[in-house]
């Protein structure tokens, strides 16, 4: 299948207050690829992600998902194809119980009730949160919330996943589990993150953004070895690729 692809062509976007958030951004994502989007705060990562499923419409340029341009008339299908995991799980978990939250998407797809239950169970099992089914979201820990937020998106069975800072606010073990989980997915994945170690473990390819532009796009190891580029973009080498402070070796 070749349609789980994303192509962004010369994308530009200016917020109503005049902030130029994206400026001539172009890249292609192939089927099944895992891509990290890194960059300092305010580099335009979140704005870019919001274009990928039509939460924002391009000021200039175009976004194509599997060959279909993102426009008003295609939004419904695009949003079904591209699942988005938000930065703050509290924004994503708005129903009174975990079950209902995960069921929200499938119900909107108009699935019969039995299928909804199957999908919810499957999605929760996948993220290891089956036992949380009846709990209200505000009683979950940060890691549990994150897992459930991912399940809410998986239940829609999207072919691509777009994630904004999936590891923020997680303790080391929850973060480790999240990385394992994300690595187990076969979807086309785009992950915006400050967690460069996560990017290095999970994504073969990395796009670096700075001030609304793409400053680098290439194999993750290469990008993270370019100290000059990283410094210009307000980033630092991931710890896993820094020299050892004791012995000086990489």
């Amino acid at each position: 299948m070749s349609h789980h692809t994303i192509s962004v062509v010369d994308l530009g976007f200016t917020y109503p207050d005049g902030t130029r958030a994206l400026d001539g951004v172009s890249f292609e994502v192939g089927h099944g690829e895992a891509i990290a989007v890194v960059g300092a705060n305010g580099a335009g990562k979140s704005t870019l992600l919001m274009h990928l499923n039509g939460l924002l419409s391009p000021g200039e340029g175009e976004v194509r998902i599997g060959g279909t341009p993102v426009t008003k008339s295609t939004l419904k299908d695009i949003r079904h194809t591209v699942g988005m995991v938000f930065q703050d799980p509290d924004d994503q978990l708005f129903m009174p119980s975990v079950f209902e939250d995960v069921a929200f998407g499938p119900m909107n797809l108009g699935l019969p009730p039995d299928d909804v239950v199957t999908r919810v169970d499957e999605a929760l099992r996948r993220v290891g949160a089956a036992h949380l089914k009846e709990r209200p979201p505000y009683r979950l820990s940060g890691g549990e919330k994150r897992a459930v937020a991912i399940a809410t998106v998986l239940a829609m069975e999207p072919s691509m996943l777009v994630m904004d800072e999936p590891s923020s606010g997680l303790d080391p073990r929850a973060r480790r589990r999240l990385i394992e989980l994300l690595a187990s997915f076969e979807h086309t994945r785009i992950v915006a993150t400050h967690d460069l170690d996560l990017a290095a473990t999970l994504c073969e390819r990395t796009i670096v953004m700075s001030a609304g532009r793409v400053t680098a796009d290439g194999p993750t190891r290469e990008v993270f070895s370019d100290d000059e580029l990283l410094a210009e973009s307000g980033l630092e080498r991931p710890l896993g690729m820094q020299t050892c402070p004791v012995c000086g070796k990489v």
Partner: protein, 270 residues
């Protein structure tokens, strides 16, 4: 614990109680909502000076609370927390209405005191019935019930989201107030200026969050209708519960049961 924290804790506790599995919890939410509604209408519609006639209504919250395994101490504390409102509302009645309505020994009881007692009793009854309803049904169930009963979807959805985000909002308010008090150098009270700023800030944050939530909703195919999954089933027991209690309320409203009982006991029933 600040008062916001305590309030949050109590709300969460009520929610936890609502997830128990007892006979009262298993009743159809619609049956409980309708019954409570009839109850409220009956209690509220009593005359200004009725006190004794209200007494039979004490039974309902007590029965339902014990059936639903709700701790009375907890309910009592919740009642006390809202009591100041009721105490204030009727506080001037004894001063304004001094006409004597009864003589007890050598003392005359003024109409003001009787109506004050009536207000307090009605407050106790209505608030405890509402608490027991939430404690046995959960707000989730109540929203589902009122929607199935024909209340416009917008209201049910609003209520649902309001309840969900009260925790998030209170949490944000709590953090802001904590941040303020940490830098307040021991000064108590925040002053109108700071208070206004905090409120304004909270409003802006709420607004931004509402927008993000809406985005998360449309990402998952939201089209204006929140579809709730639960399937409700009215069984004979639910209907019996609803009709039985409602009939009792209407009866107790129409006839002064304590008076009749008294007459029966003293044999003066004509």
């Amino acid at each position: 614990m600040s008062s916001i924290e305590a309030g949050l804790y109590n709300l969460g506790r009520l929610d936890q109680l609502a997830r128990q599995d007892t006979a009262a919890h298993r009743l159809d939410p619609r049956a409980k909502v309708v019954t409570t509604f009839v109850y409220l209408v009956c209690v509220v519609s009593f005359g200004k000076y009725d006190v004794l006639a209200l007494l039979p209504f004490v039974i309902f919250p007590i029965v339902l609370a014990s059936e639903g395994d709700l701790p009375f101490g907890f309910l009592g504390k919740r009642l006390l927390a809202v009591a100041p409102f009721a105490l204030m509302v009727g506080a001037f009645n004894p001063l304004l209405d001094r006409e004597a309505v009864a003589q007890i020994g050598g003392l005359s009881l003024s109409g003001g005191w009787v109506s004050y007692a009536s207000i307090l009793l009605r407050f106790l009854l209505t608030v405890s019935a509402a608490l027991v309803l939430i404690g046995t049904t959960g707000l989730n169930g109540i929203c589902m019930a009122i929607e199935k009963l024909g209340v416009p979807k917008v209201f049910a959805t609003q209520l649902l989201l309001l309840y969900r985000y009260i925790f998030v909002l209170a949490d944000e308010a709590m953090r802001m107030s904590r941040a303020r008090s940490l830098r307040a150098q021991g000064r108590r009270g925040m002053g109108l200026g700071v208070y206004g700023q905090i409120l304004g800030h909270l409003l802006l944050r709420t607004y931004a969050r509402a927008q993000r939530i809406y985005q998360a909703m449309i990402c998952r195919g939201f089209d204006g209708t929140v579809r709730v999954s639960g399937r409700l089933q009215m069984r004979a027991a639910d209907v019996a519960f609803m009709l039985g209690w409602s009939a009792f309320f209407v009866l107790a409203r129409a006839y002064d049961l304590p008076l009749l009982l008294g007459q029966l006991v003293t044999g003066t029933l004509s």
